[in-house]
């Protein structure tokens, strides 16, 4: 391709004309990115303190409003913890990809806080959660079956996002990011429609993105299950008054299962055998299906598409050639190079298809297993994985005394 040929010599001006310089605006200063990380840490510390020590719904609300304004409307969304999954993945698979430190920070820090304090990030730092929390006016109960089925979507989304990031195809979390358009007051029509659907349904189904889409939520969910501390509904002891039963808009409160082991041993063993057969089977079946689908999955990769187009030119069939083909022709790249790149990507998709499918099968099996085996517990407790630590339930508990208050009264 010919580019920047000096066809006409530079003029010699006689009138003392001064040639203007080309203005090149600088990007956002790097120090501001460091400040974002500092604010992230600060916000996480404050929200964890509000949730665990102050136990104040009001505090959570104001903190989430701050985060919505700062991380949402001021920072305009990028880079967020949810999207950073893809940067991390791509960095692991592509050694030429440069990963800024701030991206690592945005990925790791919320996970570490969650490991110690539960999902306080979701309560008051994530702008997506904050936005959806604001509109959850009339939350309805969905029932545990629907919750379980829809709850599998984030796993699939996470798997796909990792597959597409690892193959360097696309960042689908960013592509189908519903809210970033709202934060920027500027988006394509499709984006606004998606955001509108989520926000309107969010009036009745609280936090639809968090519960049934968010891929980072999957990681937070699993990390939070092992958190050191976690919000409790009651400050002291649960008296089983049932007042908090309907307080959680996200169906995240586990109601007591008091009949200890209702089944006899035989049934239980049978169930366990079933599960231990089912999970490997589903994993394998999923993997097999995934590997069959690898060509379809790879169809969106631009290099694969280009190779296909060179092999079977569409121009002969009366369609105009695609811009990708035009660009390829003017680049003077050899067709063999394109083919070998594409076949390498296809190989990756084949392996990725096995892993993705196996992963989805495993999740499927796990969800079934979890529903088959009931767990015994006496109190009303927030489910450590699903709870967003929003502290709504706290206000419903009639037990208000905790030890510190008693001490205070005595003095």
């Amino acid at each position: 391709m010919v580019f920047a040929v000096q066809r006409f010599p530079k003029p010699e001006f006689e009138t003392g004309y001064l040639q203007p310089g080309t203005l090149l605006p600088s990007p956002r200063a790097e120090i501001l990115a460091a400040m974002d990380v500092a604010i992230l840490v600060l916000a996480l510390s404050v929200i964890s303190w509000i949730v665990l020590k102050k136990r104040s719904r009001k505090g959570v609300f104001w903190m989430s409003l701050f985060s919505l304004i700062y991380f949402g409307f001021y920072r305009e969304g990028c880079v967020c913890s949810i999207g950073s999954i893809q940067n991390i993945t791509l960095a692991l698979f592509d050694h030429t990809f440069i990963l800024p430190l701030t991206v690592i920070a945005f990925f790791i820090i919320p996970l570490i806080f969650t490991l110690f304090f539960g999902r306080t990030f979701c309560a008051g730092v994530c702008p997506f959660g904050a936005l959806q929390d604001l509109v959850a006016f009339r939350p309805q109960k969905l029932g545990s079956r629907l919750n379980a089925v829809l709850g599998m979507v984030p796993y699939i989304y996470l798997g796909l996002a990792i597959l597409y990031a690892a193959t360097g195809t696309d960042f689908i979390i960013c592509r189908y990011d519903p809210f970033v358009g709202i934060f920027r007051f500027n988006a394509s029509f499709g984006m606004f429609v998606f955001a509108g659907i989520l926000l309107i349904s969010g009036i009745f189904i609280a936090r639809p993105y968090c519960r049934f889409l968010c891929p980072y939520g999957v990681l937070l969910n699993w990390v939070s299950r092992f958190s050191r501390r976690h919000i409790t509904i009651t400050p002291a002891e649960c008296i089983q008054c049932r007042l908090c039963e309907d307080s959680c808009p996200y169906d995240a409160i586990d109601i007591p299962v008091t009949t200890k082991d209702p089944e006899n041993r035989k049934i239980r063993v049978k169930k366990l055998i079933w599960i231990s057969l089912l999970i490997p089977f589903l994993t394998f079946a999923g993997g097999w299906t995934g590997s069959r689908l690898h060509i379809t999955l790879a169809g969106v990769n631009s290099k694969v598409r280009l190779a296909e187009e060179i092999l079977t030119p569409a121009a002969g069939q009366g369609q105009p050639e695609s811009l990708g083909l035009t660009a390829y022709k003017s680049s003077g790249k050899a067709a063999e190079e394109v083919y070998s790149e594409a076949s390498e990507i296809l190989d990756r998709f084949y392996n990725g298809g096995w892993i993705l499918g196996g992963f989805i099968g495993l999740v499927f099996g796990w969800v079934i297993a979890e529903r088959m085996l009931s767990k015994w517990h006496t109190d009303y407790i927030p489910n450590k994985g699903a709870c967003y630590s929003c502290a709504r339930c706290v206000d419903f508990c009639p037990v208000k005394t905790d030890l510190s208050e008693i001490k205070h009264e005595k003095t």
Partner: protein, 217 residues
């Protein structure tokens, strides 16, 4: 005395923490591709400082999107595919490369007879290019950036008939630096890439340092 459950929890928590630590360590100290400079490490006047291939130190690792004008085929997607309207991509005029032609291939539609500023003669759909008489026979062309939509029509004209001094660039005062640039994913020629924020332009064909003015946002 911790129960067995608590003990297990602590164990898993410890392993998750260790795993996260290992992951971030691996990411921070990960080795980039072995790169070679090919020049003599005299970076100050390096003609390739725009696309330096050497690994960069950690602190300058903030990345922004930029397009490489030498790969761009002016397909028009820069105008339509940015998340912002109008696009963050604009035409940038590199005066240092300009021939100040009377018959500007970037300004006039092909086949224009009368070389005047009448709107119907102009290639630019928004009349964003201003033509000013300097001295016979030279004219200065300036991009009125708020009007430019980044369609690249003028760039195509200029690189076909002129010196290639009009080039498309992501303007960093407008670009919100999406995690994945939505033009990049649709650019047919793969012209977009992440470049260091400390050196965020990819103008081609001249020595950038001497002839441009960097303005802070």
């Amino acid at each position: 005395m911790p129960t067995r459950r608590e003990f297990l929890n602590t164990l898993v928590r410890g392993s998750i923490l260790a795993g996260l630590g290992l992951l971030s360590g691996a990411l921070i100290f990960r080795k980039g591709k072995e790169r070679e400079c090919g020049f003599d490490f005299n970076c100050k006047n390096c003609p390739r400082s725009n696309d330096c291939l050497l690994p960069r130190p950690l602190e300058s690792r903030q990345m922004v999107w930029q397009l490489d004008p030498s790969r761009c085929i002016q397909c028009g997607r820069c105008a339509t595919d940015c998340v912002l309207t109008p696009s963050a991509v604009k035409c940038v005029h590199v005066y240092a490369m300009c021939g100040y032609c009377d018959l500007c291939g970037g300004y006039f539609k092909p086949g224009t007879k009368v070389l005047d500023t009448a709107a119907e003669n102009q290639l630019c759909p928004t009349n964003a290019i201003k033509r000013k008489f300097v001295e016979d026979p030279f004219f200065e062309y300036t991009i009125d950036e708020p009007l430019c939509i980044g369609c690249g029509k003028c760039v195509k004209g200029c690189s076909a008939f002129g010196n290639g001094s009009l080039q498309l660039q992501v303007r960093h005062d407008r670009c919100v630096n999406c995690n994945q640039c939505s033009i990049a994913r649709n650019c047919p020629s793969g012209a977009f890439s992440r470049v260091p924020a400390s050196n965020p332009t990819l103008l081609r064909g001249f020595d950038q340092k001497q002839t441009t003015t960097n303005i802070k946002q």
